[in-house]
Symmetry: C2
Subunit: 258 residues, 2 copies
């Protein structure tokens, strides 16, 4: 089997530019947000104050593209299959390498992703509808405010997975073991209680079928930090392109607290 | 029984200036570090990178003495029984109120404290030697380097509690539930493996008896962030005086992940 380093090598040379879903099974994938240092304190504080939506895996030293702890041989300028470049809140380009955009004042934030808890859900026999239906997970803006920090504020975005009640209970147990990748759900049941009016119209991703007798289960979603950053329109931001995540050297099970 | 707010009221008016050990049973007590904003990013990053020793409970908005999340009616300038004021790394004064030292650029960090996991240990029938012997917990500098962040670097400081092996196993289970207050031990057994040469000479606190058949169990210690800050000799720092902690509104059990 291909190692994580081999896969990152193929991504670095441009031989892999596809989404990373299903790749490097067992290894943690991460969302990426790169900001100039002047925004880094506020954003770090925002992540600390909102750990359910913005669970930090690593923050690099200013100017360094190397995630020393989670992948010391990697380079964040080249080792993601696709990036998005934003200026003043507007998407200006999608690229497969951000070396030419690099600045000495950039700080990179790697943020946990719910891929990490989906594998143990599946291993526990809990079906995941959007995977079964070959769609993207349903994501919704809620009326739950994030704790603000400096220039960063906004509503919590959640991902939703419909389940049988007994599976929902087991899913609470399983995901509670992984606080560093969103942890336990933030809500179960009535979508209206968290400000979601139409389950068929997610704000991000695709709608999925909710069968009779199933209950929607909502988790804090890694789209929240990106949506929050964009809303503040900083003059320069680099992120991963959706689905094109950074693959770390950290085994998913290493995130479990017990 | 006295409420937490009533106790903080007595502390605020100067009617309570003693250590908080054993007070407000069931409520989380916290270490306090107050730094000028120019150090706040490095220190926040240091805490994030060293969660076992520096578990963050809350970081206030710059200039605000109010911990909005953990005790919204409190004032960190008055609501601790005793503070220490440091300039350029030197202790210049111990006071019961820091209002006259307050500056608009100060950021307050509340950091978890092992008091929070000792109650569930005792409730599980695990004796805690230093409490039995009426001493302070034994704390040691180790040869385990903290992950550095900007100007902050230094070795991990650990607290040690000797236990029977079966109690040590149970203690791992219990403290794993509390990752936001140091979590699982960092070491069990041979002190030499983490650079401790003489168990009878702790670097902080008091030595305690280790009985035949007992194993020393080591946890990351909240003295680490303070020792690290002092080593970098910032021009101004306020901390709690040892044992004179901040009492939050958060129930200890609320820190448990499962």
């Amino acid at each position: 089997m291909e190692t994580v380093e081999q896969l990152r090598g193929k991504i670095r040379t441009g031989d892999w530019t596809q989404p990373t879903t299903g790749q490097a099974s067992g290894y943690t994938q991460a969302n990426l947000v790169i900001l100039p240092k002047k925004y880094a304190y506020d954003f770090l504080l925002f992540c600390i104050r909102n750990p359910k939506t913005c669970p930090l895996i690593e923050v690099t030293d200013t100017g360094s593209p190397v995630p020393k702890k989670s992948a010391p041989t990697a380079d964040l300028r080249t080792d993601l299959p696709k990036y998005r470049i934003y200026r003043n809140g507007e998407l200006i380009e999608e690229v497969t390498d951000v070396t030419e955009y690099w600045q000495d004042d950039l700080v990179s934030f790697l943020i946990g992703c719910s891929f990490t808890f989906e594998k143990p859900l599946l291993e526990n026999g809990i079906p995941i509808r959007y995977i079964e239906e070959g769609r993207n997970v349903s994501m919704y803006k809620t009326n739950i405010p994030c704790e603000s920090a400096g220039v960063f504020q906004g509503p919590m975005v959640v991902s939703m997975r419909p389940m049988k009640p007994k599976d929902a209970i087991r899913a609470v147990q399983i995901t509670s073991r992984f606080p560093s990748v969103h942890g336990a759900p933030v809500h179960i049941g009535d979508p209206a209680q968290i400000g979601i009016t139409d389950m068929n119209k997610p704000d991000f991703g695709d709608p999925v079928t909710i069968e009779d007798g199933e209950v929607p289960v909502f988790w804090g979603c890694g789209v929240t930090p990106q949506a929050t950053v964009m809303a503040s329109k900083p003059e320069f931001v680099i992120t991963h392109a959706p689905g094109h995540m950074f693959i770390t050297d950290i085994k998913e099970e290493e995130h479990a607290v017990i």
